[in-house]
């Protein structure tokens, strides 16, 4: 059974008297264990799709099944639980809490865990995630004391901390230098292969999409190509 299954997803935005079709009938199926790269020009609807897939946004029409459950009919608290337990989300714009240390930022998802995680354990797990991303020595820095790439890595650590089976990353290497990008992508490959985490990532760079096993291309809110990628 597919982990992500969408059926003719639509997302319309009313802007003044015109209507923008950010998603225009997106049907996509992603199985557990896949590593998918989403590509396409700017404004083609990639982020919109990721937000719907991440249960952050609701589509205007269409259906979405996550792990077999009809997400669109769910209430806000159930969706919050799914975001917390099943999905690690890396935002295009980091979305870190200001005036909060890197460590505490990474701890936030654990704070809202349905199964309570004690303060000590929270700290340990957050540190582990930061260490994996090579940021342990920066754990007490606030976001405004970190470089763009470091903030990006804190955001990735936060997405990993809860051991979610699905990782959705919206241009996770957009702010990283080539060397760090390669490190991150190798980490993703490792997570995908060793832990079986399903990864969907948005990227503009062919070098990055080359790490994936499947490439989906968007154009004007539609999927224009969907092919297997041989590494």
């Amino acid at each position: 059974m597919a982990l992500i299954a969408t059926d003719r997803l639509e997302k319309k935005y009313d802007v003044g008297d015109s209507v923008v079709h950010a998603l225009d009938g997106v049907s996509l199926s992603i199985s557990a264990g896949e590593f998918v790269a989403v590509m396409g020009p700017s404004g083609s609807g990639k982020s919109t799709f990721m937000n719907v897939a991440g249960c952050l946004d609701k589509p205007s029409a269409g259906r979405y099944f996550l792990d077999g459950t009809d997400v669109i009919r769910m209430g806000r608290d159930d969706l919050a639980r799914i975001r917390n337990e099943k999905i690690g989300f890396v935002f295009q714009g980091f979305n870190l809490l200001a005036r909060t240390s890197a460590l505490e930022n990474v701890e936030v998802p654990l704070l809202y865990s349905t199964r309570p995680v004690g303060p000590k354990q929270r700290r340990e797990r957050a540190r582990l995630a930061l260490t994996i991303l090579g940021l342990d020595d920066r754990r007490h820095h606030h976001p405004n004391q970190l470089s763009g790439g470091q903030q990006q890595r804190v955001a990735i650590a936060r997405a990993l901390v809860n051991d979610a089976p699905l990782l959705l990353a919206d241009e996770p290497t957009g702010n990283l230098d080539t060397k760090t990008s390669i490190e991150i992508m190798e980490l993703f490959v490792k997570l995908n292969e060793e832990k079986g985490i399903t990864i969907v990532l948005v990227t503009h760079e062919p070098d990055i999409s080359a790490y994936s096993k499947r490439i989906v291309r968007f154009l004007d809110g539609r999927i224009v190509s969907d092919e297997v990628n041989r590494r």
Partner: protein
């Protein structure tokens, strides 16, 4: 459900970011709570003092004075109306069951001399019943004998102040003092009673037999007449009945026709004191209302700032929701924040209120009483204000749409 200490930490951090704003927001609560504490301390102090005074004057007291209070608006001058007599007092005691004791009084004042010592004081001619009427006990010596009253014996009982000023440390008993140049033998010394409601020293007094007062000290135009009669009812419940029965008895004794005005007035001392107390209670209520209003204003201030805070932190709320915060997680966070604001305000208010009350007591000499109950209550109330006024902003925050909140600039 999210872990409380962590949430408190988040709240404290948020409040620290805007220290000045948080402090100003607390001001309303601080003032409200300080007002409550001060007002309760002063109010409680006043009422405690009052009941102490009721206790010292003597409880269940009625005072019968000559003249009518309603005589066509013209009141006879004090003492000019010699309608009350010793016999009236005796009749009241013996004929009215709801009366415990009644003592007639001829009041005056005079210079008192003992050796070189010299003191001006109040002199009351009365009977042995006076001590019972006023719940007054003797520090030394004895009460008057009935025989002494009938024979107008020149004996006296002195109050503490008089004893101190005439005798110093010496024993006053069996000494002869001169009241208005007439020698009287001291047979008793009263225990100290302290100040009266009007701030008079109640111990600055000498009691002599009413007969001796009439014959030797203060002559009366009508023999046997007295200035007033002090009556003690058997109980508080009997006060009203005693008052009625005294009126009936005296109208009968004074042969006052059904259409005529009384030639006396019965005053209820306890009632007067209770009226005063009631007035002070009304005053406390008024102050409580003011304190309540300022707490309300403080609460609205908290709500206002929390609403601003929710708007400012929309993105933060969005981020928290995106990683799994549920409706109640967000709601609790903002309620706790409001609660912390109001509780810190409450604590500062309590400290300020106690300081203020102590200042009033030391600088202005007001009697105060700070009760633990008042502190607990006002702290609890400020916490309630926080929860109540924090709820709406928290509710608003919790219903934000995650994606809209994340896009918020």
């Amino acid at each position: 459900m999210i872990h409380l200490p962590s949430i408190a930490k988040i709240a404290l951090r948020a409040l620290r970011v805007n220290k000045m704003r948080s402090a100003l927001t607390m001001l309303g609560i601080i003032i409200g709570v300080a007002a409550v504490i001060t007002m309760l301390a002063v109010g409680k102090g006043a009422s405690t003092k009052l009941s102490e005074q009721i206790a010292t004057v003597g409880s269940n007291l009625l005072i019968v004075v000559p003249g009518s209070t309603t005589a066509g608006g013209v009141r006879m001058g004090y003492g000019s109306y010699q309608s009350l007599t010793r016999a009236d007092a005796e009749a009241i005691t013996s004929e009215i069951p709801s009366v415990f004791l009644a003592a007639p009084v001829i009041s005056g004042s005079g210079q008192v001399v003992f050796g070189n010592a010299n003191w001006a004081t109040a002199v009351y001619g009365t009977t042995q019943d006076m001590l019972g009427v006023r719940d007054w006990t003797l520090a030394a010596g004895r009460n008057f004998y009935d025989q002494e009253i009938r024979s107008a014996a020149k004996v006296c009982i002195v109050g503490q102040t008089v004893a101190d000023n005439l005798f110093g440390n010496a024993n006053p008993l069996d000494q002869t003092i001169r009241i208005r140049k007439v020698p009287f033998t001291v047979v008793g010394v009263l225990n100290a009673k302290g100040q009266s409601m009007m701030g008079q020293d109640q111990d600055d007094i000498i009691y002599v037999p009413v007969t001796a007062a009439e014959r030797n000290l203060f002559g009366r135009r009508i023999p046997g007449s007295v200035h007033f009669i002090m009556v003690k009812a058997t109980s508080t419940d009997d006060l009203g009945r005693a008052e009625e029965q005294i009126k009936q008895l005296l109208r009968q004794r004074h042969r006052i026709g059904p259409t005529q005005e009384d030639d006396f007035t019965v005053r209820n001392l306890t009632q007067m004191l209770q009226l005063t107390e009631q007035a002070s209670r009304v005053m406390s209520l008024l102050l409580a209302a003011i304190a309540g209003v300022s707490l309300l204003v403080g609460g609205i201030g908290i709500m206002n700032i929390m609403l601003v805070s929710v708007t400012e932190r929309t993105r933060e709320i969005g981020i928290r929701m995106a990683v799994g915060a549920k409706t109640w997680d967000i709601r609790t966070q903002f309620i706790i924040e409001a609660l912390i604001l109001s509780m810190i305000g409450g604590l500062i208010g309590i400290v300020l209120g106690i300081t203020l009350a102590e200042l009033l007591s030391t600088l202005a000499g007001w009697s105060i009483l700070i009760s633990v109950w008042a502190i607990v209550m006002s702290f609890g109330f400020s916490a309630l204000v926080g929860i109540f006024f924090g709820f709406y902003p928290a509710y608003k925050a919790s219903l934000l749409d995650p994606i809209d909140a994340l896009r918020h600039e």
